[in-house]
Assembly symmetry: none
Homo-oligomer: 156 residues x 2
DNA sequence: ACTGACACGTGATTC
DNA sequence: TGAATCACGTGTCAG
């Protein structure tokens, strides 16, 4: 899927969410035109342009992460940058409630029905297990996901 | 903790670096000049200050949401604004895996023990149930625009 | 010294 | 219209 490859393309696509102001990065070669190491002015402008491109990369990374967050959360109501985070918070809380409810159901089922052969010794605090898997998953940050979400590539 | 040392008055230096946007907005000064007030500069500065305070509120709201997102996600590795979102994505995925695993466990337990009356027919899409509870939670969303979201459905 | 992260003000744009 | 949102460049500050 790899949305948000910027730079003057995907005009129709990002118009739903972003405002179309990526045309300025089309002209960024004009800003970082040349740096002459002999002149101090060129040195300063080179440093300024490096700061500019670094900041631009930072902004792009953050937007990409925000897109990835939006893609994992179902039922996005608004495309805002703040509403995406709000919906993500609500979805995380609903998932926590879901896990707690299902685990209470499983405990009831085990106590009712037959013998329990599973390994839920510490299921009292329900998101313990998810936390551990999350921590084990967070060791390596490149291409580790193996869940149905492969296209997000949140790494780096 | 927040630093408020600003108030720089070098006003022409920022105009020097606007060369790429002035290509497009070279004529926009005439557009923003139809305020028929007695002092056009005063009106323009008033609207500029309103824009400033609006933008400041927007930034504060977004930071607040980001802090709230950080508070619901356990095991935050870094305090960065991008790492918070990355950890939230990983946590959501781990919660999805957790729900799927627990539901498969519950289906196995039910098939062992007694009659299963739940809706495990479509549990391959395991977070269906969490999605419904999440949908029931946000009650004010009007008409659930489904067309732009369906593109993102392939990744969850 | 230098990189990375962040808040700020500002022009532009959409509804 | 006007309010809300966004990307951008810039200054600043910590490691």
């Amino acid at each position: 899927m790899e949305c948000f490859d910027d730079e003057y393309t995907n005009y129709w696509e990002t118009n739903m969410f972003l405002q179309t102001q990526e045309l300025d990065s089309y002209f960024d070669e004009a800003i970082s035109a040349y740096y002459d190491s002999s002149s101090p002015d060129g040195m300063q402008s080179s440093m300024a342009s490096k700061n500019i491109v670094s900041e631009r990369n930072r902004r792009k990374k953050l937007n990409e992460r925000l897109y990835a967050l939006r893609s994992v959360v179902p039922n996005i109501t608004k495309m805002d940058k703040a509403s995406i985070i709000k919906d993500a918070i609500g979805y995380i809380q609903s998932l926590n409630d879901e896990v707690g409810r299902i685990q209470s159901q499983i405990s009831e089922l085990e106590s009712n029905g037959g013998m329990s052969s599973s390994n839920n010794a510490n299921f009292g605090h329900f998101d313990q297990e998810a936390t551990t898997t999350y921590c084990s998953k967070l060791k390596r940050s490149t291409s580790f996901i193996s869940s149905p979400i492969e296209v997000l590539e949140v790494s780096q």
